[in-house]
Amino acid sequence: MTTARAAAIVLGKELRLEFRTRELLTATVIFALVVVVLFSFAFDPTAAESRRYGPGLLWIAFLFAGSLMLNPSFAREQNNETLDALRMAPISSFAILLGKILANLIFMSLAELVLVPVFAVLYNLSLAGIVWRLILVLVLGTLGLTVTGTVFSAVSAHARMRELLLPLLLLPLLTPLLIAAVESTAGLFAEQPALDRTWLAFLAGFDIVFLTASWLLCDHLLEE
């Protein structure tokens, strides 16, 4: 079986599992909304200030939500000891990891699909004319978040206090991604919307570096 086919099967299993209950998605969206609302209480931004701080807030909300949402990705397998069954299947370990990364990418993107319009309404930001460029930034940023997050979810699954450990491992690592994503989103929300190619290339570079590292290290990551 090719890696792509195996990854697609793992992806299908992850999606089926999630859409039976949709609990992870609901919790993620609500959590990110709570962060967005709390921010408006803490800083009470004017229209000009929301334009300035909005992109940062949006990405902070995504990163916090992601660091919580990605935790069950492997912890769930650990609880039911189903990871052993997955490993016994005649597929490469990268296929398992890739399937999970893609599933988490879809979950995060769905959450963002709900959150971004709500955010735009709450902070009076216009999405008209920048939708496609914003989607490009969101996809590149979210891919970086889910690749590293899924790998670290497999790491923290073996530890005590894993819910607390995952953000501790993940958030410092994501600072370059945060800077690049915020800067490129801020460019889009500015008076004259413009997409900064340097930051976009940086985001793509981040994704490539960590996707390659995950591919090289996945055998060690999932071994028993």
């Binding site: 790491v155 073996h158 491992l169 410092p172 690592l173 940086f202 960590f210 060690h220």
Partner: protein, 243 residues
Amino acid sequence: MKARLAITALVALLIFCAGYAALFIAPDEATMHAIQRIFYFHVASWNAMFCAFFVAFYASVAYLVTGKRKWDALGVSGVEVGVICCTIGLITGPLWARPVWGIWWTWDAKLTSTFILWLLFIAYLLLRGLVEDPEKKASLSAIFAIFASLDIPLVYLANRLWRTQHPQPVIAGGQGSGLDPVMSKVLLLCLFAIFCVMILVLVDRYRLELLRNEAAELKFEIESRGLDAAEGATTPALQKGGL
């Protein structure tokens, strides 16, 4: 044992000489005066930190390739010593910055990158503390160390593109850079002295980790033998009782 004592004494002498040279031999800096002297140890601790983290990165890759426990021991030693050097750098930096820049801290590229570096390797140590199984602990922390090391150039690049306030490199930093010849000799001495201290501590920490591993293995063996002995003692008794 004697050789180690001799080496430790030698390094102690070296660090004393470096301290003396930095405080009394190096010429006074034109604008910053005495405050500038912290630079000899600040730069030297960064240098030692990068070497220690490089050792940790190399050992982590070597552990994943070979699977030998000694590389894991070297990896954790490198990270611990690196974190100590990093902490020294993060303390001496603000001490210098307060009188010179007028602020303790600024979110500049180098400062921010180092702070993130420190946080990442503290997270590494936390991770090791929270995983029970020794094999898992070794492989997972090696994976994390590799990810963290890959992240460092990205953190630096991102911050560099963003903003920077730290003094530009004074050595080989382009036009107008360069040190007084006496200063550069003192700096070299300090770099070497701190580097030797780092290596000394690293080697001792590595030995300690190996001893800890050995102790844990022996303890495990005693426990399993103890269980065997207990089973051996109870089984015949049961058989007798059965007969």
